[in-house]
């Protein structure tokens, strides 16, 4: 196999904070000091004169190295701010790295956004040509593919209407249709599939799959673990600007999910990755079984008590939580407010919320819970991944329920089969 992308010790440094105001004067002073071989006059005492430690600054990427082979479909995953988009921007040549080297073989096209350069006053036809040229196609290529693009977008009767009259769905379809017909050897795709309706998203994923099938190399950034897992063979996991894992996609996604879980294992009381006003905070969360003891194992249909302890009371305090599956999709949401007929309050425990679920109809798999405390419309405390739990395989009404990552819920049901 041929290596088509080689990333070597790639680093990118960003200066944070306000730029402007006295900048010219500082720049000139800095330049003059450097000319005379003196240190930077604006560097704070105790800081070393390297860009690594300058004031308010971060390394968005730090010494990242990997190679990509021809035909590989690589998913780039990580939390927000892990450097995924920065990496893609450097490869797309939108910005330059601070250090390191990237070598590429073949024509590169980047799709960091759909509809880049669309002009609202131009017609669909005019925008197809313009957008195609911006993405790197020449006129012959666009002409050759024009009919195909229009057919893919399913909008032939609107092609001579200005795009500002399009519905947003139509707009996105046309924009993606142009992008989908690029024929680069290397395609860089950022989280652009989050737009458009579900049917069109599937079509786009299919088209990307075709692209990969033709021996082209695709780099794909997404938060949608489902899409990443179904599209990509291999994955790169970035964490705080560094490369954590480069392996096949299942291992990479697992590594990514593990780091989220490590956060979840820390005591909720000590966690700092939370937001909200903080007058009242969540101190503990646990799952208790029907007898009030800690939940040892959870099977489909079990009774579960979700218990939340807080460190104080304020009027109208409410508790909400959402269950997510391992692909990051939300499955179910629960909220203590507005109240239900069977709700009750326990005067002996003024600082505890208990949500009793008689039957937890979840398919075996791993789940995550996000919690939010709210009072008088103000968020008091919010924690992502406050709790992780696993539902094990087992019987529900005598039927064996197996692990299945494609679905997350099950309803109690019975079959009547042909007799």
């Amino acid at each position: 196999m041929t290596i088509v992308i080689s990333v070597e010790n790639l680093s990118k440094f960003y200066q944070l904070g306000q730029i402007g105001g006295g900048r010219l004067y500082q720049d000139l002073n800095r330049w003059w000091a450097r000319r005379r071989g003196q240190p930077d006059p604006y560097l704070k005492i105790g800081q070393e004169d390297t860009s690594a430690t300058k004031g308010e600054a971060i390394w968005a990427l730090k010494e990242v190295s990997f190679t990509v082979q021809q035909g590989e479909v690589l998913g780039i995953i990580g939390r927000n701010g892990a450097g995924k988009s920065t990496l893609l921007k450097i490869l797309a040549r939108v910005t330059a790295p601070t250090d390191g080297l990237v070598r590429l073989k073949g024509r590169v096209a980047s799709l960091l956004e759909v509809g880049t350069g669309f002009h609202p006053d131009l017609t669909g036809r005019e925008n197809v040509y313009l957008n195609g040229a911006i993405l790197g196609m020449n006129r012959q290529e666009v002409e050759r593919k024009f009919d195909e693009i229009v057919a893919f977008a399913e909008l032939d009767q609107f092609i001579d209407t200005p795009v500002k009259r399009y519905s947003s769905g139509l707009y996105v379809r046309l924009a993606f249709a142009v992008a989908a017909h690029l024929e680069p050897e290397i395609l860089l795709v950022d989280e652009v599939l989050a737009v458009g309706d579900v049917a069109f998203q599937k079509k786009c994923l299919g088209k990307m799959g075709d692209v990969a099938g033709e021996g082209r190399t695709v780099l794909f950034v997404s938060h949608n673990m489902g899409a990443v897992r179904s599209l990509c063979k291999d994955g790169v996991f970035l964490h705080e600007g560094r490369l954590k894992t480069k392996a096949d996609i299942a291992d990479t996604v697992a590594a990514y999910l593990n780091t989220i879980e490590v956060n979840g294992q820390a005591s909720i009381f000590d966690r700092t990755d939370r937001s909200g006003q903080g007058t009242v905070r969540l101190t503990q969360m646990q799952l208790l079984d029907k007898d009030g003891g800690p939940m040892q194992s959870i099977h489909p249909g079990d009774k579960v008590n979700f218990v939340f302890d807080v460190d104080g009371t304020v009027p109208t305090l409410g508790c909400r939580f959402t269950i997510y599956n391992s692909l990051g999709q939300s499955i179910a949401a629960f909220r203590s407010d507005p109240k239900g007929l069977e709700d009750a309050s326990d005067p002996e425990r003024p600082c505890r919320f208990v949500c009793q679920v008689d039957h937890l109809y979840l398919i075996p798999g791993k789940y995550r819970i996000n919690v939010m405390l709210k009072a008088l419309g103000i968020v008091q405390d919010q924690i992502e991944g406050a709790y992780y739990f696993e539902v094990l395989e087992g019987n529900l009404d005598g039927r064996f329920i197996k692990q299945n990552t494609a679905v997350s819920t099950i309803f109690p049901h019975r079959w009547i089969t042909p007799g």
Binding site: T2, V94, T98, V102, R103, L104, T116, N138, E185
Partner: protein
């Protein structure tokens, strides 16, 4: 014309050696490029994009207007009428013995080409930050397309000017077009070059210092008064004339007027000075522009 955007070689059979030599790669991304790596060849590959930008500018500007492209003619005519009334009649500035209307129209024509080039190229980075932040193409395609679309505007206005010129000539006005008109393309090149050079220097610096945006908007107007647009050089006191000619645009305007109207001063040494200035400012501008384009997304 089936040139790929990047010259890529056909699939290499197999890696020969893990230590790749640079020439096997089609694209190498480094922190900094050399100052002289202007990549003009790449700009040529993107010529279709330049053409489409020109088309977009042209089509989009007058969509949803009633008069449409007629605005290209209304603007210079109205400006010229105002100039004729205020500077010709009220202030009674001399016009080298030429019909004031033609005098001001010729000045407005060539000046507005320059001013439009400068004004529009000077916001290249800021106005296109969103586009530049999402996709790569040679950034110079934008200022180059601005020069070309302004040239189209100029062409329309130029025909209008020729019309008036013929009308005045037929009615016996003192106008003497001469062989210097053959120099028109070169004069335009000088105006375009200086406008481009100054414009992209300003656009590069505005990524860091936004102040320049304010400076440029009234700076261009001030520059017009330092150029013999509303007055002929001959009306300037003798001792200040070299000062006016220090402005690299003055020789161009004077030569343009002399070529079509037959009055004014045309001096090859002065034009040579303008040419040297133009080459210098374009070169400096392109160097700076290329330097800034790699990382401007981080500061803009």
């Amino acid at each position: 014309m089936s040139t790929p955007i990047l010259n890529h070689k056909q699939d290499n059979p197999a890696p020969r050696d893990p230590s790749w030599s640079d020439d096997e790669w089609t694209l190498i991304i480094r922190p900094k490029r050399s100052w002289l790596d202007l990549r003009l060849k790449e700009l040529w590959h993107y010529r279709d994009l330049v053409v489409l930008f020109v088309r977009r500018d042209f089509v989009a500007v007058y969509k949803q207007t009633i008069l449409g492209p007629l605005w290209y003619l209304i603007q210079p005519v109205l400006t010229t009428i105002v100039f004729t009334v205020i500077f010709g009649k009220i202030a009674a500035l001399p016009t080298d013995g030429l019909p004031p209307f033609l005098f001001y129209l010729s000045g407005t024509l060539i000046w507005s080409y320059f001013a439009d080039c400068l004004n529009k190229t000077s916001v290249t980075f800021i106005a296109n930050a969103h586009l530049f932040g999402k996709v790569y193409f040679p950034r110079l395609a934008v200022p180059v397309s601005i020069l070309i679309s302004n040239l189209v505007t100029f062409g329309i206005q130029y025909i209008l000017f020729l019309g008036f010129l013929v009308y005045f000539w037929l009615t016996g006005a003192e106008v003497r077009p001469n062989l210097w008109v053959l120099l028109t393309p070169y004069l335009l090149l000088l105006m375009a070059g200086i406008g481009l050079g100054v414009g992209i220097i300003v656009s590069s610096l505005t990524t860091r210092y936004r102040d320049l945006r304010f400076l440029i908007s009234f700076g261009v107007t001030l520059w017009m008064y330092a150029t013999p647009i509303i007055y002929p050089v001959s009306s300037v006191p003798e001792q200040f004339q070299p000062l006016i000619m220090l402005n690299p645009l003055s020789p161009v305007v004077e030569a343009f007027r002399y070529a079509y109207l037959g009055a004014g001063t045309v001096n090859l040494m002065n034009l040579l000075y303008s040419s040297v200035f133009m080459i210098g400012v374009v070169f400096a501008g392109v160097l700076l522009f290329n330097r800034i384009e790699a990382t401007f997304m981080d500061t803009v």
